[in-house]
Symmetry: D2
Subunit: 323 residues, 4 copies
Amino acid sequence: MENAVQQESGTQRYAFLGPVGTFTEAALVQVAPAAQHVPMPDVVTALDAVRRGDAERAVVPIENSVEGGVSATLDALTSGDPLVVVGEALVEISFALVAAPGTRLEDVRHVATHPHAWAQCRGTLARLAPGVVHVPATSTAAGAALLAEHAASGDADELGFEAALVAAHSAAAHGLDVLARGVEDNVGAVTRFVVVARPGTVPPRTGADKTTLLVHLPHNDAGSLLTMLEQFAARGVNLSRIESRPIGDALGRYAFSIDAEGHLADERLAAALTGLHRVCPFVLFLGSYPRADGVATAVAPGTSDDAFTSAQEWVAGLRRGLT
Amino acid sequence: MENAVQQESGTQRYAFLGPVGTFTEAALVQVAPAAQHVPMPDVVTALDAVRRGDAERAVVPIENSVEGGVSATLDALTSGDPLVVVGEALVEISFALVAAPGTRLEDVRHVATHPHAWAQCRGTLARLAPGVVHVPATSTAAGAALLAEHAASGDADELGFEAALVAAHSAAAHGLDVLARGVEDNVGAVTRFVVVARPGTVPPRTGADKTTLLVHLPHNDAGSLLTMLEQFAARGVNLSRIESRPIGDALGRYAFSIDAEGHLADERLAAALTGLHRVCPFVLFLGSYPRADGVATAVAPGTSDDAFTSAQEWVAGLRRGLT
Amino acid sequence: MENAVQQESGTQRYAFLGPVGTFTEAALVQVAPAAQHVPMPDVVTALDAVRRGDAERAVVPIENSVEGGVSATLDALTSGDPLVVVGEALVEISFALVAAPGTRLEDVRHVATHPHAWAQCRGTLARLAPGVVHVPATSTAAGAALLAEHAASGDADELGFEAALVAAHSAAAHGLDVLARGVEDNVGAVTRFVVVARPGTVPPRTGADKTTLLVHLPHNDAGSLLTMLEQFAARGVNLSRIESRPIGDALGRYAFSIDAEGHLADERLAAALTGLHRVCPFVLFLGSYPRADGVATAVAPGTSDDAFTSAQEWVAGLRRGLT
Amino acid sequence: MENAVQQESGTQRYAFLGPVGTFTEAALVQVAPAAQHVPMPDVVTALDAVRRGDAERAVVPIENSVEGGVSATLDALTSGDPLVVVGEALVEISFALVAAPGTRLEDVRHVATHPHAWAQCRGTLARLAPGVVHVPATSTAAGAALLAEHAASGDADELGFEAALVAAHSAAAHGLDVLARGVEDNVGAVTRFVVVARPGTVPPRTGADKTTLLVHLPHNDAGSLLTMLEQFAARGVNLSRIESRPIGDALGRYAFSIDAEGHLADERLAAALTGLHRVCPFVLFLGSYPRADGVATAVAPGTSDDAFTSAQEWVAGLRRGLT
């Protein structure tokens, strides 16, 4: 079913956090190279495009992003009409400093880029071009686009910046000179992106899956967080991500955005969900999907599907004595 | 079904830890006054009578007994062919000192009784009859029976004891003089008895029920006992009794005999059993039955049948999206 | 000591996330109205000013901020030379739409502001001025400053935007017209700010305190998070904030930024810290300080200073028997 | 100090659960062969002898005993003037069937012994001598003593039993014929005995120690038992024995008798005791002493003395910043 959908993805529309040239586009190329790529100005707009049916899928950053969107993604996924995650992609983060042809590194005094990209490169840039100043842009690609456009029309001096910081993989695409590559302060950083769809389809279990949830706590003490986490631990379900998000009605009230290892079709994950539904005032299932890294889910003793099934059958057998 | 059985209990045979006159008989009179009462010399024999079909039920002490049988009951219930508990009774424990007619308190130098009865009265007897010595008997009633028999035949002097310590409720039945009543050191003690049957019948849920289990731990550290107990706590199931029993293959290996509040038909208890079956190497279901004290089971938030059912339905609904 | 510092705060330099007119400045005015206020372009620079000794204190947002800086604050506090939190402030978040004198709401097609401010008002603005577009600025105040400057010089048309979204409390200060007030989508939101200093001073216990920590987990399963949280729960210490932060060396490795209720001088908090130090590979103490809301710390049974002291004295007494 | 005491133990009086010939005597011979051995009729009397100063030590069974005394020991240790455990011994349990010289196995119809010994051999005896009946005695040695005495005076026929079941190690000492050896149903069973003294001396830490405690629970739900056990688990302290004992004021109220691995001088054990003192209404320290099996205490990561000391020093260092 999902496979069928993927096979015809050439005709599908994928909204993404654009513009072309961003890291999100790199994720999209991994996931659905032949789909129709529809750039969106922000995460909310990309997700709303799927909600409205203007796109079948959206690709947005969810973890450790350099272009923002992480908090926005967590919040936008969970407010408004329901959406689910159906896949994920990992992209290595590396930056290049680009400028109009002929610009020398020592000419650069102002660099346009997204504030998060700036934050990730400020140390390296301070060494390469001491005294350089940040000019904020809405994306890494936006600054480069302005540079290229003004370089073409010959009025680059009026821009207020001489260079842009862009995703390394897209450096060549802007038609600009690359002054430096690998200018990120932390080499090897990776951003995680999710593929989002309308509810109704859960990709089949592969044995190397993740399940994304949003859970509200019953109250705000350490005990209630323990109670929530014990629902996972009691069934041997590990978490690969947990992030608190303010619920928004008051400081100190938190929801938790969680990625659990395993799939809705796994008995231990179903049992953990059942427990969460009982003890938490609100639980939102946001999808089960294959892990991008393909690492198989660890199964602790007593938590296999067989262990759950045979325990349930044992109790059912005892109960037949009731009649 | 169970009601039908109880209605015709006049024709049923109830084995009990005898002889007549013991506290166990008092429990039996509470539970099944019209049944055929079959005294047995010890707990193992009483339970084996049910196993062999020589009796339909057995009544034996299980908690805080003065006549022994508690450890024996826990162990005998769980070795051999399976048995289940189908009811319980509570009996107040009070003792009387009895002797052949004409005997005065100051004549008493030796007192026959079961060692556990002696242990419960030794302080009071030491004040009533300083220097008095214990002569062990197999039950509280056995010493009194010998006294009565020898008093009748006129050879009481050869017995080696002048008085017996018996269950207060049976003091009059022995045909002996009562030298003192209420000689127990702790006033108000209660012993708990269980009614045991062959498997196949679970009394219906009343809302004020207990469930008896035997559980082995996976290994011997504090963590494994925690893991076992969390199966109850995670579902809001309280315990009214927990006793360790050596497994017998080695010092330091323990089983736990447990009375949990609630009935096999309660969803939270079924969920706790399912969890135990997964994490413990051995779980024995020993019956669900009405509490003698009639106290309704407390239901914590999120642990009602409705809470479990709606959580299971929620997960089932999510899973329908899988197909 | 701290009191002495506060008394002379008129001569102290407070770096803050500027420029003048931001919500952070409103927090600073609460905390130290008479201090020297030193605006900084970003959180890292503000904190580094304290590290270098260019300022005695910094005021930066830490929770639920509309101008960013939250993740940046959590990360910047914990990398580089050590800093501690010595106070906090709460500021209600409300926005105004301002423009050059004479501008009408229907003239507004582009609005300059910080992206996070835009995110918080986009719904209301879409109703007030359908089709309005966002122009990113480095702060709420920066857009307004440009508007005011260009309005004065008569070349506002060249700016590329007709209005700015600013902190409501500073709307009047820009010398611009207020087109609309209270344009935030969520009324009543509050941002929390912290006052940061070099280590060496811990404000005295008031009975209504918080303690901020950064804790790394030993490994990445649900069990290790439970183990960490149990250190608090076992001593009756509640948490008022917990946020996961990627450690940065790999996806899926998390540190937790935590605000615990209570003060380093509280025995239960000291005991929790002792436990954390044993079970976690890294624990960073980031300060104990009075709560802005003045709510007294709840003390559960068995967790008062007396309970800890008497337990320690009991064990010490037992140990004296060792010698 | 303790060593000094042991060196002069030849002059010490050791009360024990007698008479001579019991398994308890075998334990005493292991522990203090040269001491003065003072047999006592029951556990309470043996312990009271130490309380009154009539003996320096008592040796009594505490776990898995065939001659009773286990529950009695647990209860008697903890009521009355304080006592502590200063050592332990393990004795293998094996029985022999003895009779007056000339008696043949087929002549045996009644066997005198302690009821618990009978319980441990009834299966084997039923095969050796079908139809054989139990005659209760106050100890295994008591029945044999009567047999030997009556055999000497030639009136054995009046006794009412033809054989006795005795501790195998003492079979030869009674001057009777051994009809069968190794008649216990479970081969290899071991009983554990403790050496009890007045408080004031704690044997020094050996690295292979046990600590015995009695702990009351704050209330009776599964949660309160968890809370108690977490005090051990949180400090990496394993339990080698846990037994519930009814508190006696009401059915369903339990104390727990616990042997924890480790010594009062171990930091993790001291920390667990501190926690218990805070969360439980009653904690009784009953001694730290070397393990009979010499197995060294396992030390989990983060629970060594160093881990505790360095955590305490870290917190103390933070607190010095307070002044």
